[in-house]
Amino acid sequence: MSGAVLRVDDLAVSFGGRRVVDGVSFEVAAGECVAIVGESGSGKSVTARSVLGLAGDGARVTAAALTVAGEAVLGLSGRRLRRLRGGTVGFIAQDALVSLDPLRPVGREIADTLALHTDLDAAARRERTLELLRRVGLDDPELRARQRPGQLSGGQRQRALIAAGIAADPALVIADEPTTALDQPVQAGVLRLLGQLRDEGTGVLLISHDLAVVRGVADRVLVMTDGALVEEGTPAEVLGHPRHPYTKALVAAVPAGRPRGVPLLDAAAADADSGGRRNSRRTGAHEPTTPPLDGSDVLMSVSGVRRVFHVAGRDIVAADDVSLTLRAGRTLGLVGESGSGKSTTARLLLGLEQPDAGEVTLLGEPWSPGPESARRARRPLVGAVFQDALSSFDPRWTVGTVLADAVTRGRSLRPGPVRAEITALLGTVGLDADVAARRPLHLSGGQRQRVSIARALAADPRVLILDEPVSALDVSVQAQVLDLLDRLQRERNLAYLLITHDLGVALHMSDDLAVLQHGRVVEHGPASTVLEDPQHPYARRLREAAGL
């Protein structure tokens, strides 16, 4: 095929004898966007980085052909390779605070690419930097160029990363998870920008774990698992009529569009992650119930809560007249962009943050504001699960110690019953008893999140606050954890507050939805009403961005 800016033929990458990429072949033409989709550990990132000669320390890379714009990458000298990087191939990393040097203004990082690959003098580089920032859709480029990554929002940083990646007009752009960690409306903007690049004739290789992301922008989708490509086609073919079993499972695990209560996975697939333990086989859907009119099922109630933070002389209203109700056996989904006050609301409900006005009640009794001593005895009633399970554990403790701490809550109990309780808890979340001897660091992301759910259940709570519980997980693992949460809710009649930026997850899990914007609840009601017939313009925008 002529006009291919990237040709990969029979690529294999191994680390110390372990093959992570095996027999991968594909091409990217000029003006084409090819997406590689797979979960973590599938080898998709290593494939992309091999193109730049950056597969990693100790990687053995072989290929029948690996050429960029006609030039073979393998065997290039250090100097030639450095000219290729940034010059012929632009790399766009996933947004993180530290994807660009946090100590330097972003303009300098972009100008560095120009200094390496063009003959422009300093003044011309500055001019071109501003032009690039404008091109990627950043307002006030003069200001942005002087700001450091920490002073930009996630979306702005991602745009700056794109500007740095395309600075030297590369023929091929590799974007590695360019929209992960971004809110949905911001995601849409970044994807439009990539589409624009493609339309201008640049070849784009997009790496993502998210099928929904690639749907809008990719011309072709390659599905990767265990280091091999298993399926290839247009997004409509791959998503609409997946042929390979892995792709089928991947498509099925996407919660968007799955009705409330319908399990995402069948029991056989769920068993794979939980180490062979048989989950109670589910029967039928979790039928949404209508709450009793007398309000006897209300477990927590937030009324007129306001919380203002004073930061650097400014007042930031994180919660403004927020009123919510958590009911037994029901999930309230709380959605909104980052900075809209979701996490502050969670902390207010947990009694970790005191409201400036309004009050929170638990089982009809005052909960917050008030002294901690008044809450302590009732704390077991409210549990919490956070996004970053790993950092919520003491890294020196084993899973058993973590759970024993939660079971005993500081009381001295006989070790026998505690051990039995831990085994029972692990069983509840679908983990084997021998997990207790392991450390959180050595568990998979899904297993860690199961442990943190077990910890939250240890005190036998009535309410669980779930703050982005599945955001860091691959889609198939996410599906397992969501199914687990749904089962636990039915078995224990738990009330959930589910905070998520993913509307697909919110819609699949929630009986009621609340939409937050700038600390205010702009929409609140049964999930079907809120997302199917949004009244507030902001809720409508969210809905569109989610592609629902």
Partner: protein, 313 residues
């Protein structure tokens, strides 16, 4: 920018406060020492000074006045820049210190610069050299940080003066004389700075921005000097103020070993001779140098790590 000026004013106020506190603590601490200060001035309890002589000294030094008055008078003299009269040297403390300060500052500053150069060079080498160089580098740092000054001084004298004969064993005037004393002070400090830098160097090297830099075609050398070293230097820069203080106390030993002029030697002899005004004067000057150095490291910190500029009130 007004924020920076405000910050600097606040910090300068802090320096004044520290100096006042040091002066106050030394003043009262010396009054708490058992025995009659007038007797100490006349040469200690063994001097057998008569009551008239003691009375005269008390009047002369204002020791017969209430303590508060003495304290205020002392502060007043300090504000006027008068550190008092040294009993042992029979000259004003200020001029005695002035003669010695230059030598010690030269020694401390050259040791600090040398320590930073050694630490950066070792970091650069052990980053480029793979796993073995990394292990060797951190081993060297551990040994360097652990060796005591007096032992290192002896070894350096034996090697460079006795065996090679390239450097003088005792301090001579001129730049050549400062090499061995500065090296003696610099090596343990370099080991310490290197240890502090190593961990942040490792995490900086694994940061995504290094991948971003590689992916735009930067060479490893440029990535080290432009990106990772700066991140690694942040904690070490913050500790340099403290390190400078430790250099001055290290100077006490090193100046004695190399028979070198300086504040350290003056302090040693002043303590031996119980010359309290000289000790007080040196303590104050060291406190001043220490606080100014801390102020300087704070400025350096803001240059290296711009994020510290936006600290909420």
């Amino acid at each position: 920018m007004p924020g920076a000026r405000r910050w600097l004013l606040l910090r300068a106020g802090g320096v004044v406060f520290v100096l006042w506190a040091a002066a106050t603590v030394t003043f009262f601490a010396l009054r708490l020492i058992p025995g009659d200060p007038a007797e100490a001035i006349l040469g200690g309890p063994g001097s057998q000074a008569g009551p008239e002589a003691l009375e005269q000294v008390r009047r002369e030094y204002g020791l017969d006045r209430p303590l508060v008055v003495q304290y205020l008078a002392y502060l007043g003299r300090l504000l006027a820049g008068d550190l008092g009269q040294s009993y042992s040297l029979r000259e004003p403390v200020a001029s005695a210190i002035g003669e010695q300060l230059g030598a010690t500052l030269t020694l401390a500053v050259s040791a600090l610069v040398l320590a930073w150069a050694l630490a950066c060079a070792l970091a650069a080498w052990s980053v480029r050299g793979g796993r073995v160089a990394w292990a060797v580098g951190s081993g060297l740092e551990l040994v360097a940080a652990a060796v005591p000054h007096f032992w290192l001084a002896t070894v350096l004298i034996l090697f460079f003066s006795t065996t090679l004969g390239v450097l003088p064993p005792v301090s001579v005037p001129g730049p050549l004389g400062v090499v061995l004393p500065a090296l003696t002070l610099a090596v343990p400090l370099a080991g310490f700075l290197g240890q502090v830098m190593r961990e942040s160097l490792l995490s900086a090297m694994e940061s995504p921005f290094v991948t971003t830099a590689r992916a735009r075609g930067e060479s490893e050398v440029r990535i080290f000097w432009r990106h990772t070293l700066r991140h690694a230097a942040i904690p070490a820069v913050g500790l340099s103020g403290w390190a400078f203080g430790s250099l001055i106390s290290g100077a006490v030993v090193v100046e004695a070993v190399f028979a070198r002029q300086g504040l350290g030697r003056s302090l040693l002899s002043a303590v031996q001779l119980r010359d309290v005004t000289l000790v007080t004067g040196i303590v104050l000057v060291v406190a001043l140098a220490y606080t100014l150095m801390t102020l300087l490291t704070d400025v350096a910190d803001r240059l290296v790590d711009p994020r510290t500029r936006t600290v909420p009130r």
